[in-house]
Structures are given as structure tokens and as C-alpha cells.
């Protein structure tokens, strides 16, 4: 019936609709892993507004510009003043802790985009009536968000590293610290994406998700800073470090400093070696727990 309808395509004009009947699809069906990869790619592009409306490109692209611009300036100034290396306080991992609010705003703005649309418009049953499982969905979304944060944090450091080579700075030193920076970027990606997505997954309202993520990421930062300062002033400088367990960005910064023996920024550092292990474990645990919570959250849909 439908086979007889197969006619050779005859360069149809745009304003003519040929009724060639229903044609069955005989091509490949690439299955679950392909669908998961597609969802990952589309979500990653979506985090930067690519493939979406102009309006949804503005914020992520602006944030990408904001986080890269100072890096360009640092490169320019360093090259112009003929310094042999970047200033310690603003190089690779330290650069990210200075810019941590940009990462927080990016996650707050984009994590709800990744999840709450599907919740709000009840699109999820359409995904799960296909080979894709809820676990695949979480995997794709978590992977995409973490990758987006990694791109955001990795790009300015890549600029600095390329700048260092163009200015013929010490190759080994810059490669080493670029590496440390990438480890920090990976930590930021896992931790921030996890926290952001878990919060987004409980609310179909995007605005609420944005506010909640901002609150958790930035207020915890402020509270940790205050507790740290108070304890430090009162002479408990070793104990003060423990206040950082509730601050995601300090957690990443101090753990990376401790792991690679860096001087860090100011006098903020892990309370002790034990503290270093605890901080590292906390980062990995929070990331894993977020993933687990997401899998649980989506299992029942």
C-alpha cells in the first residue's frame, strides 16, 4: 500500500505539497545510548543558549564574556609589563576563586533551564515512553550541566595558558598550574552542577529554582566567611578553617591548594591535613549524593 507511493523525488517547488502517502521508516534505530548522547549534546548546547532563542543566549554568553574578559586583561598586562609569570593571586586556580560568583550565577541561571522546563511542561512522560530510562535522563542532564560549568571555568584558564605560551613564559610552570586549574574546574563542575540540579529538580518554577540556587551558593559563602572571620579574630585560626565546609567555592579552592601545595589566596586554607582529606571527601560525596538524589527523584515518574 505504502510501497507503491514511493516515487522518485522530482525537485519539488516550495509552494507545492505532493501527497506521496505514508512511508515507513526503514533506516537505523540507534537506541538508548545514542538517545542519551543526543540529550547530553542538546542540553550542553542549551546551557549556553545554542539552538535556542536569542533571548536565552544573552545571559550565558554574557557570563562567559565576564569570566573570560579579566583573563584577557591579565594576559595583556602581563605581556605589556614583560613579567615572567602571572601574579600568583590571580593565576589559574586562584583566578577561579576570584570569579566564583560568576560560576554561581551561571549555575543558578542555567541548571533550572536544564530540568524545570521538562517538569513544568510535563514532557518527561514523552522521554520515558521511549527507550531512554530515567537513569539515562539524569546521566545526560548531569553530564551536560557539569560539562557546561567545566567549559565556563576552563575557557579563561585556557586563555591564560595560551597567553603564557605566546609571551614565552616558563612552559613547565604554566602547564603545571593550568593542570591544577583544570582539577579545580572539575571540582567546581561536579559540586556546582550537583547542587544546582538537585535544587532545580524539586521545582517546576524556574524563577524559584534560580533564587534557591543563588541563596544556597552565595549565602553559604557569606555565612562561612563571617564565621571564619569571627573565629580568626578571636585567635582560633586553626579551627576557623572548618567554617569553610559550608562554602562550596572555598571548599574547592582550599582543597586544590592543599592537594598541590599551593600558597593560595590570603590566609584561607584547610584547617589541617585531616581537614584536607575531609574537604576532598566532602566534594566527592556531595557530587555523588546529588547524582544519587537525582536518580531517585526521577525514578518515580
Amino acid at each position: 500500500m505504502s510501497d507503491t507511493a514511493q516515487q522518485p523525488p522530482t525537485a519539488p517547488r516550495a509552494d507545492v505539497i505532493h501527497d506521496i502517502g505514508y512511508r515507513h521508516y526503514e533506516g537505523p534505530r540507534l537506541g538508548r545510548s545514542y538517545a542519551t548522547r543526543s540529550l547530553y549534546t542538546l542540553s550542553l548546547r542549551g546551557s549556553f543558549g545554542l539552538g535556542r532563542s536569542v533571548k536565552s543566549k544573552i545571559l550565558p554568553m554574557a557570563l562567559l564574556a565576564v569570566i573570560c574578559l579579566p583573563a584577557l586583561i591579565i594576559v595583556a598586562v602581563t605581556v605589556y609589563t614583560k613579567l615572567s609569570k602571572y601574579p600568583d593571586t590571580a593565576s589559574y586556580p586562584n583566578y577561579l576563586s576570584i570569579m566564583q560568583f560568576v560560576i554561581a550565577v551561571f549555575v543558578a541561571a542555567q541548571a533550572p533551564v536544564a530540568l524545570s522546563r521538562d517538569l513544568r511542561f510535563m514532557t518527561l512522560p514523552l522521554y520515558f515512553s521511549r527507550p531512554l530510562t530515567s537513569r539515562d535522563y539524569v546521566q545526560a542532564k548531569f553530564g551536560a550541566m557539569a560539562s557546561a560549568v567545566f567549559v565556563l571555568t576552563g575557557l579563561p584558564m585556557l586563555i591564560m595558558w595560551i597567553g603564557s605560551m605566546l609571551a614565552s613564559m616558563d612552559f613547565g610552570y604554566n602547564l603545571e598550574h593550568f593542570g591544577y586549574g583544570l582539577v579545580a574546574a572539575a571540582f567546581y563542575s561536579l559540586l556546582y552542577a550537583g547542587i544546582g540540579l538537585v535544587i532545580s529538580s524539586v521545582t517546576p518554577r524556574r524563577g524559584f529554582g534560580v533564587a534557591a540556587i543563588i541563596a544556597v551558593l552565595l549565602i553559604s559563602e557569606a555565612v562561612a566567611g563571617i564565621i571564619y572571620a569571627v573565629l580568626d579574630v578571636h585567635g582560633h585560626s586553626s579551627g576557623a578553617g572548618w567554617a569553610l565546609v559550608i562554602s562550596p567555592s572555598s571548599l574547592v579552592a582550599t582543597t586544590v591548594d592543599w592537594l598541590f601545595g599551593l600558597s593560595g589566596r590570603g590566609n584561607i586554607h584547610v584547617p589541617s591535613d585531616l581537614g584536607g582529606f575531609v574537604f576532598l571527601a566532602e566534594i566527592l560525596l556531595v557530587a555523588a549524593a546529588s547524582y544519587g538524589l537525582l536518580v531517585r527523584r526521577y525514578r518515580k515518574i
Binding site: M1, S2, I17, G21, Y22, R23, H24, Y25, G27, P28, R29, L30, G31, R32, Y34, A35, S38, L39, L42, S53, R117, F121, M122, T123, P125, L126, Y127, F128, S129, R130, P131, L132, T133
Partner: protein, 319 residues
């Protein structure tokens, strides 16, 4: 080959039994699944898609076991949910392409199939506009398109006529008919209105409270129950003339089975298209006015009143 087979399928939730030893055998074609809200239709669809485990019993879709081969079933089956499921800020094309890729179609095939499918469900230039601006009828078409885009062997349509006006309803039912007749795809369509399904489906399954009430081909249904409701005015010139009685006698003479409904409505059994002509001619010859002549819509409640049928169905469900 049977498209769907369930055997003593039971689904119990902590406080309610959604499906109670349901045994049905659905052949290829358009099959209606009728039941009041809460009769267990959506639960059945979830189990058939392999998304929820059955408490007891087994079910096979396209020969695949729902308990162990859910993934393979979902590759070959399309699903159109009852509720809204479309993001308003993307176009129908973008959305259906995305859903095609989620079904495992390569990007270029997804675009090609999307263009084809949207055309088949009757969406043309508007498919490039954001879905938010669509009418309910157009949205239902997009929902149908995403269920068809990967060329499934079976589609499960949950209340596809919900929220549509009478014209939209007829369009959707016609489209569903075409899905089987022209596309060669079997259809399981749910509704709480028996009347609209018996015109569209080859076979109707009625469930209530998770139990099978009746499963028969639509021919059986229509044979027993397809009637026309006819109402006429009295003769203006002669108020004493009993128009109803005269029409009854005349239709009887024409070989039609007619009876009074108690009120002013006559129920005439439909023998075929010529029945309409006979009634028209009879009314004209008697010189009375025709107030209405309509096919009586059957409601699910009528099926419930067939106590005998219910008892029989109960028995067959246990076999």
C-alpha cells in the same frame, strides 16, 4: 498475531486496585479502550509500556514481555499522553525532531520523518511557529505526531479527543482511522465516551474498576444499540392528529423497527443509509415537521446497565 495480550493482569496500589485480573487479547486494527475516569486505563498503558510493574499476571506487547523487554517495546511503540506535554516556546518542528532523536533516529532521518509526520497529521506552515500559539486541536496533532515520528508498529493514544470541539473531535477520529488504514499502524485509543469510539474502532474493550466489562467487535455493539432518535411536530392544521402514532405505523409499513421512547421521541433502528431516506419521506408524506433526527450517542453508563453482559464478561475474564 495479537498486538496486546494480557493474562490475569493485576495492579494493586496500597489503597486501591487499579487493575483486577484483566485478560484481553487485542488484534491488529483500531481498538478502543473505554472506561470512566479512574477505571484503570492509564495504569494499563503504563504497564504496557513497561514503565510500571504489574502486581500479578503477565502482559505481552507485539509479542514482547512487558516485565523484561520494556526497552524493546518502547522502541516499537508510540505514546500520546492525555495531559499537556508540549513546551510552548519551541516550534512543532523543533520539538518533534528532538523527540525523534530521543527515539534513536539519526539527526537527518529525524528531520525528514518530522516533516513527513507533521504533514500527515495536518500541520503545514504553522509548524515553524512556537507551540504556545497553537489551538487545542493543533496541539493534539503535535502530540500525535511525536507518537508517530519513529514509525512505530503500535500507538497508544490516551484520550486524544479530550478538550476538542465536535469538529476537532471528528477530525482527530478520522486521523486515528487513517493511522491504521493508511499508515498500517495498530492503534489502542482510550476514551470515556463509547459513542465516539464505536464509530472509529474495529473492536472495543470496556473496563470498569480495573475489570473487563466487555470486549467485542464494534459490529456487535452497533447491531444491538444503533438507533436514531426522531422527533416530529404535530400537524398544524389538525391538532387532534397523532403524528407519532402515524409515523410509527408508516415506518412499520416501510419495514423499519420503531418504538416510542415514552416522551415525544421515537427510536428507530438503523438498517443502513436508506433508513434516513425512509424517515425523511415518511415525515414529508405525513406533512409534519421534523424537529430532530440524530444518532443516539451511547454513553458508558448504558453498558453498565447490561447486567447480563457484565456477568458474562466477568466470567470470560476469569477463564
Amino acid at each position: 498475531m495479537s498486538v496486546i495480550i494480557t493474562d490475569n493482569l493485576t495492579k494493586r496500589f496500597p489503597r486501591v486496585t487499579a487493575l483486577d485480573r484483566l485478560t484481553v487479547d487485542v488484534q491488529p486494527g483500531v481498538v478502543g479502550l473505554v472506561g470512566a475516569n479512574g477505571a484503570g486505563k492509564s495504569t494499563l498503558i503504563k504497564i504496557l509500556l513497561g514503565l510500571a510493574p504489574a502486581t500479578e499476571g503477565t502482559a505481552r506487547v507485539l509479542g514482547l514481555d512487558v516485565a523484561t523487554e520494556g526497552g524493546a517495546i518502547r522502541e516499537r511503540v508510540g505514546y500520546m499522553p492525555e495531559h499537556d506535554c508540549l513546551p510552548p516556546d519551541v516550534s512543532a518542528t523543533e520539538f518533534v525532531v528532538h523527540m525523534a532523536r530521543m527515539s534513536g533516529l539519526p539527526a537527518s532521518a529525524a528531520r525528514e520523518r518530522t516533516a513527513d509526520t507533521l504533514r500527515h497529521v495536518g500541520l503545514y506552515e504553522e509548524r515553524y511557529r512556537p507551540i504556545g500559539g497553537y489551538s487545542t486541536g493543533m496541539k493534539q496533532r503535535v502530540k500525535l505526531a511525536q507518537a508517530l515520528v519513529h514509525d512505530p508498529q503500535l500507538v497508544l493514544l490516551d484520550e486524544p479527543t479530550n478538550g476538542l470541539d465536535p469538529v476537532g473531535r471528528d477530525d482527530m477520529l478520522g486521523l486515528i482511522r487513517r493511522v491504521h488504514a493508511e499508515f498500517g499502524i495498530s492503534v489502542l485509543v482510550t476514551s470515556h465516551l463509547l459513542g465516539e469510539l464505536e464509530r472509529t474502532c474495529d473492536h472495543v474493550v470496556v473496563i470498569d474498576g480495573g475489570k473487563l466489562l466487555r470486549s467485542s467487535s464494534t459490529a456487535d455493539f452497533t447491531q444491538a444499540t444503533q438507533v436514531l432518535a426522531v422527533e416530529v411536530t404535530d400537524r398544524q392544521s389538525d391538532p387532534s392528529f397523532d403524528a407519532d402514532q402515524a409515523l410509527l405505523e408508516r415506518l412499520g409499513a416501510d419495514g423499519l423497527t420503531a418504538k416510542a421512547d415514552g416522551g415525544r421521541v421515537l427510536l428507530v433502528e438503523i438498517k443502513g443509509d436508506e433508513t434516513y431516506d425512509l424517515i425523511r419521506d415518511a415525515v414529508a408524506d405525513l406533512g409534519v415537521g421534523l424537529v430532530r433526527m440524530e444518532q443516539r450517542r451511547h454513553h458508558i453508563s448504558e453498558v453498565f446497565s447490561y447486567d447480563q453482559a457484565e456477568a458474562e464478561a466477568e466470567e470470560s475474564a476469569h477463564v
